[in-house]
């Protein structure tokens, strides 16, 4: 369990310590007094150069780009938001109407009816942006008291906290298909003493998207647990709790794996909450830096995957401290190290995770669900399966593993992802900007929430759901399955956290080197699914295992049978080579009875390859040979069957069969020769007669004359005798 997560770094040197994360566009923003630096984090690359936009000077509570990235919205105070048009530089300001309410924050939305949602202490205001007039038009208002709110673009879900303890929640999902109002619900909080009533803070609530489902995780520091709630369209259901071992925790999601950072203990506990199991995938694992850049030149980072994990100490920069004070956990899988001006992306070290658990089937299950590094997961699965067989683990366990692999393959076939091959990551399409002069509107702001606004139009089916850089096919299918549920989304959204930082570092200008936000993440994973086809099972598991397992092959046969069982259940076709291998193995161990049953009951499906192998293996066993010849006939390989009959000396039967099934491609001389060697003149005559009758012009061939001559000799000699 040495290494677990590798971080990628991108950093910038002179930037002032003021960052905002716009999760809608996946932009890391760093405003200075009159400029905004923005780095794309979506394809994550350490060397990306920032975009720079000019804005007017003023306080900044929060900042988000519109989803089409044409507008920049800056919350100046708790009463005003100012909008800049990036191309034209036009601005306009939006202000709170009433004195009694203040703006808590805002976010952009791809909801059809509106473009931006402003969260105020009195509720939500939904506005549409009017291109022509460069102003916001109020579409709808949702009235309610709000203490604070949590939003992630990934889930399109906004949770509004209210009440004395801030544990009563209203929720809205504003997705491209419309607005869904979730029922009001209460979160659970343990009381430290009889009379005290703790107040829930926004940094203790996380919206998390996993496998297209949306959960909310709530830290209960008194009980030291993380409560989880799952959101359905019409209900919020508590799902049980995860223990925590640190007073400070944070939550990330990488490739649908839930990571609970136990910050004080500096370890991460991983959960794969695909099924109902609330057990961690593995023991707690530490975080390791990987691919940490040289302090001077920033460029050389070998491919993330290949770079061996560097021990944390290896880095010259000793400022990089794991779980340092300045760490801010950004939406799904980023960590911003404000102190050191670095942005880390969390990677799962699949190898280490799989090595830390001995429960092979569940490890395989876990790996089969990984989409980010599908190829690596696949290779791991193959290696694990192979090893398991070579180590002769109990059949029950291997059987379960086969089930996992085959089921996953069948699923991927259904979803179509297996054949999709490469699916390029969707990069947030930066639409060429049509210049709209941004009207600067003065908005005075109070507090900020560093929430990003989302720009990306993802093809989330129904409810938003697609999380970044994941091919949408898997998820969307998933979404459709989950009737009436919203896909969950997990985002570790430390809204409050961010804002804290904002306060401190507000306003410093970043003149220096922009963060290296980079654009192209390596497309190492050409595959979108780690599913393993039966063909690959044969080539990379069974065939190598067969080569390595010398001696008694009975165990391997058992495993192959388990594979057949799984494949049959999932209606997956098995590669004929695997059947051939099975025949070889059974014949080699002289398990003829079993081989016979397998063929007769079609466990080994008939094919030409199998038939030929049966004939070959049948040299030692007459019954098996018989099965082979029967199979030839069964799969209508008439020519082979006729040839076989002739070879075995059944030339008359062969002729009859050839006549019936119109096999005309076999040379008459074969039959004639067979008849001749049987030394039966009657039979030879019959064969000659057959060809004379059925092949026009046979009389004039050399075959005819040769064998006619031979026949005459036979007859005369027999007369003499």
């Amino acid at each position: 369990m040495i290494r677990n997560l590798s971080f990628e770094v991108k950093i910038q040197h002179n930037l002032k310590k003021c960052f905002y994360y716009d999760d809608g566009n996946k932009l890391l923003l760093s405003p200075t007094s009159n400029q905004v630096f923005s780095w794309k984090t979506a394809p994550f690359s350490p060397n990306a150069a920032p975009n720079i936009d000019s804005i007017t000077e003023g306080p900044i509570c929060s900042i988000r780009f519109s989803l089409d990235e044409k507008l920049i919205a800056v919350q100046r105070s708790n009463t005003s938001i100012i909008f800049f048009h990036r191309e034209t530089g036009e601005t306009f300001t939006h202000r709170c109407k009433s004195e009694s309410e203040s703006i808590l924050g805002f976010f952009w939305t791809d909801c059809p009816s509106c473009d931006i949602v402003v969260v105020k202490t009195s509720g939500l205001d939904l506005y549409a942006y009017d291109h022509a007039s460069k102003s916001l038009a109020l579409v709808e208002t949702k009235k309610m008291t709000v203490s604070w709110y949590v939003y992630t673009h990934e889930s399109r879900l906004v949770l509004l906290a209210s009440g004395m303890q801030c544990k009563t929640f209203h929720g809205f999902q504003l997705s491209s298909v419309g607005i869904i109002r979730l029922p009001k619900f209460e979160m659970v909080m343990a009381k430290p003493e009889a009379n005290s009533k703790p107040v829930l803070a926004s940094e203790d609530v996380y919206i998390v998207t996993v496998y297209g489902r949306i959960y909310c995780l709530q830290v209960d520091r008194v009980a030291m647990v993380l409560h989880s709630y799952r959101f359905y369209r019409d209900a919020i259901i508590q799902q049980g709790s995860l223990p925590i071992y640190s007073h400070k925790v944070a939550v990330s999601v990488v490739d649908n794996v839930l990571l609970v950072h136990q910050v004080d203990a500096k370890v991460i506990i991983l959960y794969d909450i695909f099924s109902d199991s609330r057990a961690p995938i593995s023991a707690p694992l530490p975080v390791l830096f990987r691919g940490f850049p040289r302090s001077d030149s920033f460029t050389s980072r070998p491919g993330t995957k290949e770079s061996e994990s560097l021990e944390a100490s290896d880095s010259n920069d000793n400022e990089a401290i794991i779980y340092g004070e300045g760490w801010t956990f950004l939406v799904p899988d980023l960590i911003c190290d404000v102190a050191n001006m670095r942005l880390w992306k969390i990677h799962l070290d699949l190898e280490a995770i799989s090595a830390s658990s001995s429960e092979v089937p569940s490890v395989l299950e876990f790996l089969q669900r990984r989409k980010l590094e599908a190829n690596k997961a696949k290779q791991l699965c193959l290696a694990i399966t192979r090893t398991m067989i070579l180590e002769r683990r109990p059949i029950n366990m291997v059987a379960k593993s086969m089930d996992v692999l085959v089921t996953s393959y069948a699923l991927s076939l259904k979803a179509g992802s297996y054949f999709k091959g490469i699916k390029t990551e969707r990069t947030s399409s930066s639409v060429p900007n049509v210049s709209g002069p941004g009207q600067g509107v003065d908005v005075n702001t109070g507090r900020t929430d560093g929430l990003g606004k989302s720009v990306q139009h993802e093809s989330a089916s129904r409810v938003n759901s697609v999380s970044v850089s994941r091919p949408s096919n898997y998820l969307s299918s998933e979404t459709e399955d989950s009737s009436s549920f919203e896909p969950l989304k997990i985002s570790s959204n430390d809204a409050q956290f961010d804002s804290g930082k904002v306060d401190t570092g507000a306003e410093s200008s970043a003149t220096g080197n922009p963060l290296n936000a980079s654009v192209s993440e390596q497309q190492e994973s050409q595959l979108t699914s780690p599913a393993i086809s039966p063909d690959e099972m044969y080539r990379f598991v069974f065939a190598p295992a067969e080569e390595e397992m010398i001696g008694e092959p009975s165990y391997l046969v058992s495993i192959i049978l388990e594979f057949f069982r799984s494949a049959n259940l999932e209606k997956v076709k098995v590669h004929p080579n695997l059947y051939v291998l099975t025949v070889q193995l059974l014949a080699r161990s002289e398990q003829y009875a079993e081989l016979g049953l397998c063929v007769i009951n079609k466990i080994i499906e008939p094919s030409k390859e199998v038939a030929l192998q049966l004939l070959e293996s049948g040299r030692q066993n007459f019954q098996i040979r018989k099965l082979g010849s029967d199979m030839l006939r069964q799969v209508s390989l008439h020519q082979d069957y006729v040839l076989l009959l002739v070879q075995d000396g059944y030339y008359l039967e062969a002729l009859r069969y050839a006549r019936k099934h119109k096999v005309t491609t076999i040379r008459p001389s074969l039959f004639l020769e067979a008849a001749m060697t049987s030394n039966d003149s009657q039979h030879l005559a019959a064969v000659l007669r057959f060809f004379s009758d059925f092949i026009p012009g046979f009389h004039s061939t050399s075959d005819f004359s040769t064998y006619y001559h031979i026949l005459n000799e036979m007859n005369s000699s027999s007369v003499v005798a």
Partner: protein, 553 residues
């Protein structure tokens, strides 16, 4: 094959090829008979006395000196015949064997058809012969197919060998022959009891022409169930560790899976159907209370008067010794004893045949001798609903005997019980019931000689056939038997294709088709128009149920 017809014992008609030497030899044979003061006429009278059937086993290598003739007799039924009569029967057989070996050293006499008797010969082991003599009485039911009778002999012998090892080995172990006789006698008696109908032995007659004794009936399963079964087999066999063990799975009375050689499969299958399957167990349950009463019943002689032994030869055949009252010279197990198997609470079948006390559940695990591996194996039988599982584990792989076996049983349950449940459920779901393999309009028998498998119309359906039809088919099968055995000698290793259709007196068609080692016999009572019609019906059947194997080209 040689077939001799003796119309009269003293007939001086001799084969034309007989040389001077031979002639003197034959006269020698007759001398033997006269010394034993038996005659052919005598034979017939014995036949009537024993309800038409005699069965003997003798060893040609024994008792070759005057005064020691009794030595050669290893078994005789009925046992209460005077020795002189027994010896005369055996003497005749011996003479004929010796005589016919002159012409055919490899395969001597197979059958003698005398005027009133048929003598069926079977050389079970080199020089150890089994002969069955059946009476051709006026009783119109007494019409046999010789090969079917010989199958009975074969079955007796191979089952015997499975439990006790070869007769020759027993003889070598105790050259006096007492041990062998003590084993053979109760074994065959137990076996014959299965043929007892009322007080009469009912041997396979023409009415059984649509069945094949030495073959296995299989359950047809779909691919999915078959895979489940095979994976179960794997789990079963892996519970016994790395040593090679074997298994047999039956559903009802049908075989589902085997990993044994064909020969061993037939024997164990037969034993299972006779004594272990749910049906066999339930037929025994009727007399269960009786059995519980006396533990000593294991050696109580069979209740039938017909099969009970006469006092004269009891001593000789050792049956006396086998009974608890006797002096227990030999410890003889009687694996075919009736009503001795029970289903234990854990699902395993138990018996005290091999010793122990069924009440205390402390029983000795049965063992069998495998033909294929020539090794003695523990036999563990487990039953769940209709599923019977037989697992054979080499004695050599279990060090501490019965204790080791019970540990293994536990392992088996742990590993496989879920799977067993699943398999039983799958098979039950796919099971078409007793008449699953009935094809309406047809009465058939399908034999796959390559794999010793047969399938036939259910017996209840066969009984609807008229006697004429059955007789016709019986006759047809005899012809085919003859043809097959001739072909076997003429052209060893080659399969002969054959087709015969005959029309019976009642206008039914009896059809036989042999191709590629597979045989199809059929009676069509309602297809009485033309031969074409009959042949067409066969074709349809073949295409539908035999994947076209018997379709003519």
């Amino acid at each position: 094959m040689l077939e001799y017809s003796f119309s009269k014992p003293n007939s001086s008609r001799s084969p034309s090829l007989v040389t001077e030497d031979l002639r003197s030899f034959i006269s020698k044979i007759y001398t033997v008979y006269s010394t034993n003061s038996a005659s052919f006429m005598g034979l017939s009278s014995i036949g009537t006395a024993s309800d038409g059937m005699q069965l003997c086993i003798f060893d040609l290598r024994r008792g070759q000196h005057e005064g020691q003739e009794l030595d050669k007799i290893l078994y005789f039924f009925p046992a209460d015949l005077p020795f002189s009569t027994q010896l005369s029967v055996i003497g005749l057989s011996e003479g004929l064997i010796t005589f016919t070996r002159i012409f055919s050293p490899e395969a001597a006499c197979e059958v003698i058809e005398a005027e009133r008797h048929s003598h069926v010969f079977y050389e079970a082991e080199p020089d150890i012969w089994m002969v069955m003599i059946v009476e051709k009485s006026k009783d119109s039911e007494a019409i046999w197919r010789i090969d079917a009778l010989r199958e009975v002999l074969k079955e007796i012998h191979s089952l015997f060998v499975m439990f006790h090892g070869s007769i020759r080995a027993l003889l070598e172990r105790e050259p006096g022959g007492g041990l062998t006789r003590a084993h053979l006698y109760p074994f065959i008696m137990d076996y014959l009891r299965d043929f007892l109908v009322g007080k009469k032995l009912q041997l396979p007659s023409f009415r059984d022409c649509l069945m094949e004794r030495r073959s296995v009936q299989m359950l047809t399963v779909g691919r999915e169930a078959a895979i489940e079964v095979q994976t179960l087999v794997r789990i079963l066999e892996s519970s016994a560790g790395n040593l090679p063990c074997f298994s047999l799975i039956l559903f009802q009375d049908l075989l589902v899976s085997t990993t044994l050689s064909p020969e061993d499969t037939i024997n164990l299958y037969k034993y299972a159907v006779l004594r272990l399957t749910p049906l066999a167990l339930s037929s025994g349950a009727k007399s269960w209370s009786y059995l519980r009463k006396g533990n000593s019943s294991s050696h109580v002689s069979i209740g039938s008067t017909l099969l009970s032994t006469g006092s004269v030869s009891e001593q000789f055949y050792g049956s006396h010794d086998a009974s608890p009252a006797g002096d227990n010279r030999y410890h003889v197990t009687r694996p075919l004893q009736h009503d001795k198997w029970f289903k234990g609470k854990d699902g395993f079948l138990i018996t005290d045949i091999w010793g122990g006390d069924i009440g205390s559940l402390n029983v000795t695990t049965p063992t069998v001798w495998l033909h294929q591996t020539e090794e003695r194996m523990y036999l563990c039988a487990y039953q769940y609903k209709s599923l019977t599982i037989i697992l054979l584990i080499p004695l050599s792989s279990i060090l501490n005997g019965d204790q080791g076996v019970s540990i293994l049983k536990q392992q088996l349950l742990e590993n496989a019980s879920l799977k067993i449940l699943k398999v039983e459920e799958k098979l039950s779901k796919g099971w078409g019931g007793e008449n699953a393999y009935h094809v309406s309009g047809y009465r058939y028998l399908l034999v796959d000689g390559n794999r010793d498998i047969s399938r036939a119309s259910p017996p209840t359906k066969v009984t609807t056939l008229s006697k004429e039809s059955l007789l016709a088919l019986n006759r047809l099968r005899e012809e085919v038997d003859a043809e097959k055995s001739r072909a076997k000698w003429d052209n060893p290793g080659r399969e002969k294709d054959l087709e015969v259709c005959i029309r019976a007196k009642n206008n039914a068609w009896a059809v036989a088709r042999i191709t590629g080692g597979k045989e199809l016999y059929m009676v069509l009572e309602k297809a009485n128009e033309t031969l074409l019609y009959a042949s067409d019906a066969v074709e349809k059947f073949s295409n539908r149920y035999c994947s076209g194997t018997f379709s003519l080209d």
